[in-house]
Amino acid sequence: MRATDIKRLSLYLLFAPFALWILLLILLPHAGMMYISLREKVAPRVYEFGFENYINFFNEPIYWNTLIRTGSMSLLVTFLALLLGFPIAYYIAKIAGNRSRGALFLMCLIPLWVSDLIRAFGWILLLRETGVISSSLQWVGLIGTPIEFLYNDAAVIMGLVYTVILFMIVPLVSTLDGMDKSLIEAGYNLGGNGPTVLRRIIIPYAMPGIVAGCIVVFMLTAGSYLTPILLGGKNSSWFTEQIYDQFITRYNWESGAAFGFLLLAFTSIAVWLGLKLSGQTLNSTVADT
């Protein structure tokens, strides 16, 4: 065997796991889902090819309302995660000493060490009517009767922000880390005040990290299941719950698959719009950080 053949072979072998991963776990299931989503159920074990499942979605306000609700709440969560995550990331990257940096990063990581379910139960313990917060407020005397903090959209948003904020902080820290401190000092030196330096220098510099973090957080939030289900109230439906119900409760894989693709399309469009509006590309953001 010639050396070039060996080289090529080893290249193939190196590439094989990745290719298999993409093929088996991403392409094939999606192709299958696409196929299922285009089947119309006519009778037991009888199917026809068509777009009925997609048409159903647009004809039923409950479905697209839930999707819009999921989308707008995900946007709000993304925005809040950015608002809260940015100062933390800035502190970690630019202010904290080397030793405390590691500790701070670790603190942000801790929530990920326990499962979604446990985290949600943690929130439930805190927020419920007889939970920690309500009882403490009563004990302090700020409120007379117990207050229910759970089972509403605010609880869902809080739980989601808590879950995803790390994914906002990490890309932000890595972009801010690369920022020379003297850029900020130059910003002040040339006459800029705090807000100006933030708006004209720090944020534009961190834009790739901001966009990358927002994409990841938005995708994670829109695709999350347990947190909105467990913390949500009587009226809070989440689109993933809709998909789960279609698949599991209603045995309606056809429309569940269609919903899955609609969610994928919706989030992709949202991300694409976000990239367009911020003037970034996928290469300059997610691939870079």
């Binding site: 094939l28 299922i36 289900i229 009226n235 409760t249």
Partner: protein, 358 residues
Amino acid sequence: MIIKIAMAGLLAATVMTTTAAQAETLRLLTWGSYAPDGLVKKFEAKYPDINVEVTFSNNEEMVAKLRATGGAGFDLAQPSHDRIFAAQQEYNIYKPLDLSKIDTSNMSKVHLDGVKGNTTIDGKVYAVPHQWGTSGLMADKAKAPDLKGWGDLCDPEYKGKTSMRLKRTILLGTAFDMGEDPFAAYADLAKYQQILDKVASKLISCKDNIKAYWKGGDDLSAMMLSGEIVASETWDSTAYKLYGQNKDIVFVPPKTGALAWIDTFAFPRKGKADDAAYKWINFVLEPENVQLMSASTGAIAAVNGGKDLLPADKKAAVNAAFTDADIDNLKFFANIPPGVEDMEGKTLEKIKAATGSE
């Protein structure tokens, strides 16, 4: 069919990694607590060449799992009796049982006949009963002594202090409470849709009265024990557990009858260890094992004198809940014909999406 092959391949891969090489493996797909450790160990001691693997699930997921693989990946499944007929017709995921290999002599006749009647397709029987239980109401007697029927959950007296699970049980219960017979209407789906619409508007107007919809036994228990709610729709086993901690919390069979389900034994179509599965069925039907099983599940075994094989505290809870008249009044879940799940699902979505009372 690419999808089927791919999914089967994936599932098979996950199953293979956990399969021991030599001994025969019995792969159980069942409810949480339906395969207590002690019982599994005892079984493995009796049949040393059989290795038991347990996957916990629920009705909907059991059907979905088997549907994904066309009935492969498990050797014995335990869906409720109403999840056999339509699922088999639509997805062909079970295979018939050989009743001669099961010791049915000990089974309580009423349950055995009921399940047989529900799950016979083309003269072949697809399931036998295992345990049965009911869905009904739970109330804190001290705070809600007058709760009698499904509709009482919407009584303004308990505003913000009741709960229910937004699943089909509450749809059926509310239908009975409104004087309808939903199971009879299964034969006429247009009629059934009318009933569902009525039920939906009732439950939507009831939304204000509900504190939250519970999602699992844990959050229901927490709300009930903490006193955040005083009454709820419930599984009887959950109520029995709470009775052990607070004697005021009892299961209340609704005046229209508690809804009864029977969890069954059914064979997935591509199961491989049929003999081991028959051995497991006969093993858990032995009276001493029934006792162990019922202690874990909190449900009553579908054997003669099943109630007496419950542990003492559970028996007390059952006796506190049911009179003989209540038992006679049980409404067994009827087979779900194709299409009904979809109708019910849509109704549930409508209720969930509605904002407050209308």
